[in-house]
Subunit: 410 residues, 2 copies
Amino acid sequence: MKPKALGPIPAGFETKDGELAIGGLSTTQLVEKAGSTPLFVYSSALLEQRVQQLRDALPDRLGLNYAIKANPYEPVLKLMSGLVDGFDIASGGELDMAVAAGLDPARISFAGPGKRDDELEAAIVAGVTLNLESEGEARRALAIGERTGHTPKLAIRVNPDFELRGSGMKMGGGAKPFGIDQERVPALAREIIAAGAEWRGLHIFTGSQALEAEAIIEAQSNVLDLAAQLTREIGHPLPKLNMGGGFGIQYFSNDKRLDLKAVGDALKAKIADLPDELRDTELCIELGRYLAGEAGVYLTRIVDRKVSHGETFLITDGGLHHQLAASGNFGTVVRRNYPVAIANHFGAEATEIVNVVGCLCTPLDRLSDRAELPRADVDDIVAVFCAGAYGATASPSAFLGQGPAWEMLV
Amino acid sequence: MKPKALGPIPAGFETKDGELAIGGLSTTQLVEKAGSTPLFVYSSALLEQRVQQLRDALPDRLGLNYAIKANPYEPVLKLMSGLVDGFDIASGGELDMAVAAGLDPARISFAGPGKRDDELEAAIVAGVTLNLESEGEARRALAIGERTGHTPKLAIRVNPDFELRGSGMKMGGGAKPFGIDQERVPALAREIIAAGAEWRGLHIFTGSQALEAEAIIEAQSNVLDLAAQLTREIGHPLPKLNMGGGFGIQYFSNDKRLDLKAVGDALKAKIADLPDELRDTELCIELGRYLAGEAGVYLTRIVDRKVSHGETFLITDGGLHHQLAASGNFGTVVRRNYPVAIANHFGAEATEIVNVVGCLCTPLDRLSDRAELPRADVDDIVAVFCAGAYGATASPSAFLGQGPAWEMLV
């Protein structure tokens, strides 16, 4: 049987007593501390390190927002609160989480194509900036502002005519449910300014999970040019521009590492020569996956080891109910392997080819296909990397009566 | 823009005051009763009707099991308790749900490739039959039986050499994490009988979501032949045979309707001429999706109606966090449209082509692409059909801070 490549294990993980270690704790210690598997472990050191890498590479003037949808675990939000400049939320539920974590609503903006009235009201009353997704939403927000006596802080999300090339998910270019087609933005901006809203600027999100620096550089340049053009057409100064995100991480063996320095250098050059319209504009980018994705690991215990028709299966107590994307079932056409290791034999020589599956009674529940790994037996621990973003909350945890995994920040 | 076909709306839904009606209640009344959207509505009449169709078509001797993973909503379990003969669970969590719903553990069997020791113990102590998935699991079950003083009720799940042709998910044929390769079954059966376990027979599951009667007939015939052969090799009478399921429902426009009568007639003929080994064997099939899938509807309110680059988007307060499979992101390669309607203009003439999307800030969140529907506006209600199985629990309800939908049995 030919092995199938695994994704690259992200940098920064340690070994202790021959085991994967995070925050100075070995796998055995992490599982003991949690009391059970399956378990998500997030590394505060890796989260801090990633923010520092971004601060080092990107222009000083650029603010850094965390899109909490990537990982809304409360201790992660509290840690990020001291590290980043702002937060992006995508629902009233995320607003509640942000408030519970003590985040300042003045640092929060709220994008999302289907905001209900109760969500708009909670955000307006709290002083959160709304990234408007349609003319209808704008009118609802203005009416709620009037009714509640709170001046709404309104920005407009733009559906640009261009997209982020090579991105995993395209959020711009062509007909989209997100934002307002760019040619209709000036009229709406003038309308909400005239209505007395606090004008908060533009949000232009072009895509996500891009690994080509050139594509991100091109999209960021287009975003800045479009923002300047729209500002001219609106005829009011632009207080803030959220340039979106799109920085990708390496999940699969053929993924290249994003050249952050190249992105930062190009942005520095562009910002040094900004059009007049953006001279006083507050600029920020919004990252979720790139900030949190590589800082998390999913640990799951092997419950059974069996052979069927000559293939070996390691069956774990976790699965797609916590790691839907790693199973290849979330927006993926061809299943590829995430980085996976035997956590308590970390760095040991690979000696066999095995399939790692979850405990669910469905053939969809695969954590790796034909992986080359060290020998592992019942009670050994499998680590699935790149689990820090879109893991716990982006998976059907109630499926087959399983329930959520443990989570821990160390 | 060319429309994209919608799946066929299942039979049995009524119209009241121009609205989709379930259990005599119009869409407006259903939403009022629940108090909010999004909402799953399950029809007790359609569940009862489906069981009756199966009883009419299938041999009297064949027991009917409900695989509760398809829909474990407690009122559904309580209703099914009076309709079917047995229940299949897939985890300790589902055992808890079954017990909470008052189901008799003696009618329950437990299959699943990654049963933990605590799950095995809870099942053995409760008197649930275990469908063993490996030799290792068999030994763990025997040890737990010994330690707790409860005789384990053990069946063996067989990984057959054949599969269910044309099934949506293949559960047999080749290397699989499920069950024990057929040639190793006799030795294990003799071992557990010799160890003093209560021998409960075989479970042979070959696939799911098959629409071709011929394929199901062939698989069922193969299952009966294999069971007879294994019984000869085991040398003990076979108390019970769970023949699996695999009956599919129509999700998409090109799906054909399963010819239940053809399946039943073939099975009657086969059972009339059973090999001696199976003469006294209790036979059952296990269905989840086929029992519950068409009896449920997902209702979600339109929050926004917008146009982008000439395409109309209806943005709802629901989405893939409740309807992952309908969004095309759960084990699907090419996205196709489930049956969808404007529930409060049910049966009205289609007058426009629209995209129905969810409220999540991701392009994955689509409920239908280019659907031909009657004109709909904000506050109208979209119905997604075939939502009775693998909807609420097979979707990432915590995604983007959303939370679960309401559920209701009427």
